[in-house]
Symmetry: C2
Subunit: 333 residues, 2 copies
DNA sequence: CTGAAAGCGCTTACAG
DNA sequence: CTGAAAGCGCTTACAG
């Protein structure tokens, strides 16, 4: 392992000069720089990240904390992981991915040992126990998902309320007066997944305002429950002409299920949903839907986090809700 | 930030004594230890991981390198990530997850800057360009997936050849003489995903030995191609009585597709496959299948890697093939 | 434009 | 059983 001292000796300069040549933080004569560059090449030198981190108090690593729930739909989770990782690299950060079952403990362990410069919390719930650990940390954090108490944290999430209103408006505008809503599974609500009720409550309220019927149900997360419950719901509401699906696992099976029931979209039923473009593509979902934009969300969270790492008080904390965008795919009439 | 020096002062001892109290590497008197513990509590001290890493040359971090291909089935990928992460934590390591598009560059960047003690490469292909970078690194690595050249690397993978033979034997033993085989998509083969042909070639060879017919096809990775190609294949081989599916995306849609075709399993068709128990559960797959055991694979890779980190020559490099286990689920007759 | 020195927060021989 | 000191590989005021 060549060190900066080896390079200095090889180039016949001091270690500080090599360091400054590396960082560009002061001007170096042409010849000196050339000699240093050559020495670096010859020795195959790379800065030791740990030593640099110790000297600068910057690790250039972000902690990405996530938890796997059985009712989580893996493709969606992976999209967020990739989005955060990609955005981080663009800003020069690497990702320490932490999947410990003990969420708060992991946050404390990683932050207090100074392994990261900042923290991204995925899948934040209403009363997320990781938040106290995050608030106690000296590193800033960005949350994906909305907690009850947003004090002292930066929050990023889709505007689920607005998304619900958009979809209800869309169906209402087309003349639908009886609409089924499939929400995430009940245990998502139980565990505090606020996106569930934020969407549902907004949809119900909007429908009430229009004086139209909306029938909210919980979906399931695993087969055969998914199909069984969807069939039961459709059987129970034959009069509904519109269907809003806010449930990844359900929407993924819906095309096959409707086909099997002989239901034609949009002739027999108008269907709208909520998913990312990638998700829709890989499951070939033909429905008019609000984009969930995991890449945009991940990128915004990381960019904001990086700004706050570099300047802790560059702004008051934010709760940023990504504006939903409706993509029309002709599944409504 | 309390440092070890603060703790030492607070406890009235030297820094080395605090360090030894932390590591337990020499005996400390009862009272001294108590005073140190109290001081640590009072100050909320945690060892700075970077400083420790610099002093010990051990980061206690493993690099996990993965690449997202469009034809990858996300649930399977996530299972490997989780398995590696969990196994690493059990051994006291954290995970630096690297998803750079430039695989070899990322391996070089992370290893040469000494950010990790070891490397896990996921989804290794036949001529994986990351291998040269790994061999040039001073850290040991463990591969998941089989490359052409296994020199100087530890390889972990399912024994796909044996899995194929097991499944052919199983069908042959039940009297099947015409068998369809659905392999991974063609671009998996193109990109060097050896598991594709290792399985297929072994199956074909075994069938030839028995003098029975096997019809190998590529599957697709995205809808509607998946269903369309499956239907075309089944239409083309009405005489086949057995079906082997070595393709995650295809097996996930198979139950619905067969149902739609009015095919009863195993009455009309015997079906066997290859997937993990978790995978089968979340998609409710009722097929007799070989377990792919991502958790076992991830755990073995990590355990071996950790051993090699601690003793680079504790054994020659290994290519370890997890023995396939057949789980009978009654989808054959 | 460049160097000598201190310091980041630890660990670990060396000494007693 | 404990301490003083050197060293891990960098960065960055301070000085010239």
């Amino acid at each position: 392992m060549a060190t900066i001292g080896d390079v200095a000796r090889e180039a016949g300069v001091s270690r500080s000069t090599v360091s400054y040549a590396l960082s560009g933080k002061r001007s170096i004569s042409r010849e000196t720089r050339d000699r240093i560059d050559e020495a670096i090449q010859r020795l195959g030198f790379t800065v030791n990240a740990g030593a640099r981190a110790l000297a600068t108090s910057e690790t250039m690593v972000l902690g990405l904390f996530l938890q796997f729930h059985d009712d989580e739909f893996p493709p969606a989770m992976l999209q967020y992981i990739l989005a955060v990782s990609t955005a981080a690299r663009e800003k020069g950060y690497d990702i320490l991915m932490v999947t410990d079952a003990d969420g708060p403990g992991a946050v404390k362990r990683i932050t207090s040992s100074n392994m990261v410069d900042g923290v991204v919390l995925l899948d934040v719930t209403h009363d997320d126990p990781r938040l106290d650990a995050l608030r106690a940390a000296r590193q800033p954090g960005a949350l994906v998902g909305l907690p009850r108490d947003t004090q002292d944290v930066d929050v990023f999430d889709l505007d689920f309320g607005e998304a619900a209103r958009m979809l209800v408006d869309h169906l209402y505008g087309l003349g639908h007066r009886k609409i089924i809503l499939i929400s995430p599974p009940r245990h998502v609500f139980d565990r505090g997944g606020a996106y569930g009720w934020r969407f549902r409550d907004a949809a119900v309220e909007r429908a009430a305002r229009y004086g139209i019927q909306i029938y909210p149900y919980y979906g399931e997360s695993q087969q055969p429950g998914i199909s069984r419950s969807l069939n039961a719901i459709l059987d129970a509401r034959p009069d509904a002409t519109g269907l809003i699906v806010h449930n990844d696992a359900s929407i993924a099976v819906l095309p096959a299920l409707l086909h099997e029931r002989g239901v034609q979209v949009p002739r027999d039923l108008s269907v709208v949903s909520l998913y990312s473009r990638d998700f829709g593509r890989s499951f070939l979902l033909p429905y008019t839907a609000v984009e969930t934009s995991p890449d945009k969300l991940g990128r915004e969270a990381v960019q904001h986090l990086v700004r706050r790492i570099n300047d802790p008080d560059y702004s008051p904390t934010v709760a940023k809700f990504i504006e939903p965008e409706l993509t029309i795919r002709g599944s409504t009439a």
